[in-house]
Symmetry: D2
Subunit: 166 residues, 4 copies
Amino acid sequence: MASKVIIGVMGPGEGSTPEHNELAYELGKAIAAEGWVLLTGGRAFGVMDAAMKGAKEKDGLTIGVLPLHNQSGASSYADIKLVTGMGSIRNQINILSSNVIVVIGMAAGTASEVSLAIKADKRIIFLQQDELTYNFFRKIGSHRIVEVETVPHVLDCIKRFLSVNS
Amino acid sequence: MASKVIIGVMGPGEGSTPEHNELAYELGKAIAAEGWVLLTGGRAFGVMDAAMKGAKEKDGLTIGVLPLHNQSGASSYADIKLVTGMGSIRNQINILSSNVIVVIGMAAGTASEVSLAIKADKRIIFLQQDELTYNFFRKIGSHRIVEVETVPHVLDCIKRFLSVNS
Amino acid sequence: MASKVIIGVMGPGEGSTPEHNELAYELGKAIAAEGWVLLTGGRAFGVMDAAMKGAKEKDGLTIGVLPLHNQSGASSYADIKLVTGMGSIRNQINILSSNVIVVIGMAAGTASEVSLAIKADKRIIFLQQDELTYNFFRKIGSHRIVEVETVPHVLDCIKRFLSVNS
Amino acid sequence: MASKVIIGVMGPGEGSTPEHNELAYELGKAIAAEGWVLLTGGRAFGVMDAAMKGAKEKDGLTIGVLPLHNQSGASSYADIKLVTGMGSIRNQINILSSNVIVVIGMAAGTASEVSLAIKADKRIIFLQQDELTYNFFRKIGSHRIVEVETVPHVLDCIKRFLSVNS
């Protein structure tokens, strides 16, 4: 019995931009349309919330891995709310549980996730990332990171990575 | 949008008995038949494995919260494999994420889960528990624990707890 | 270069009794007098606080492994305050870092520590424990637990365990 | 009773350079000479090991926060070996427990620590950091990071930060 494919979408919460949220929303729809499970940090803000909103519009399954000891601050678009009580280190669960990780935008929490993903040897896709961020993470983990500009390119990359790993 | 109800089933892995596994299997079927999500420690042994096997026979959704840094040792009946890399402390996620916790059998890992559940003020159902275990946990957290003898009684208790919390 | 011997003292915080606190205080003094480092859960209550107070009277070194994201609620007798931000699961650090674990009193948090200690195959000393608690933990991890009635007997046990492990 | 000042020194393990190790060794000596406790990730490699070696030459107290479930791979210069069994997420303890964090070199694990330190609003000192790394972290957490070129400048910065916080 095959377990479900989980795609993690990571990015800023409160500090996210409308452009990044729109991109996350489109990505969430596309992930759900492929039948993949969407996993995020689960909070009702920014990239996480927007991606899960998109996934729910296409009847996808969404998992939110929450930092607090209860469901406060959780996105209403998370079907499955995992309550960790672990604060920022719940990020490790996001990384280790996702088959592929897509990153939109950048902030300290997101940077910790990309760093942990490099350490865990996970495949990472940067979507419309700024050059400084891309260059920094290429320097500390180059062969694990690809950079793309559109949601369809993200899907192509994910499919390629999944076919290699299975 | 309502998030899914998650029922956690906890119990021994390698040290489980055939009787406890059979009980877990029946409980897993019953949980799935109610439309609830089943969450366990995710390993391919004992109570966790048997409960998820039961749930899959009724087309339920199953979540396995795994202790290691990868999916090794995971039950093939876990639809969603959460990889934590946290060892025994992933037990906290099991407890905090479950609306209600059902316990079958007893071992050190299970005892840590019941202890954390008492600390987190969660409702706990002991199914066919031995008297010594029941008396010990009643002593340190009495009002959170009920003891029942059959799977239908577990369902009754869960429904009662869910109606109080919603 | 030999690393320092760490003795973990575990027991209830707010729910501790004056008798248990007095016992913890005497034990803390005795541990410091032996030149061992005392490790506790670090909070300003009950067994943890009393044991560290005793150790400081004998100029011992004390480590408090704190549950919160900052030092709030920390015992003033903790020389080294480790801030984990992990809540109850910081208990795993207490257990894994201690050469030997001494338990005074019982509550849900303490029960999770004893359970994790059994799982981690650590030596555990119960000091003046009640019979129900002793019987329960003997049942799930018998060969790792000894029960003694006085502080001098605790010291004898620790020395015996240390000589076996080194 | 004042708790001890803890200075965290973070940097690459296996991938460290001889220059960074030498710098860490000098920094460790200087930290110990000030009477501060040195905290590192505790492993027998690179910046962690070199800094603790330096501290021990000046009779400092050293704490190693280890990633595994036992002491394997620990630096022999760690007086107090904290065993977390948490892998990379033990990095959060390093960050939250340190009054000030000094970073030498850069790798994925170190990047996760700097990211967590920014999130936790900790003061961070980069010692002889490359420009790309400095620019990236300034971008996501500018006001928390200072960059210096020599060990004496690190000491000046630490003293300034400690006086502000106390």
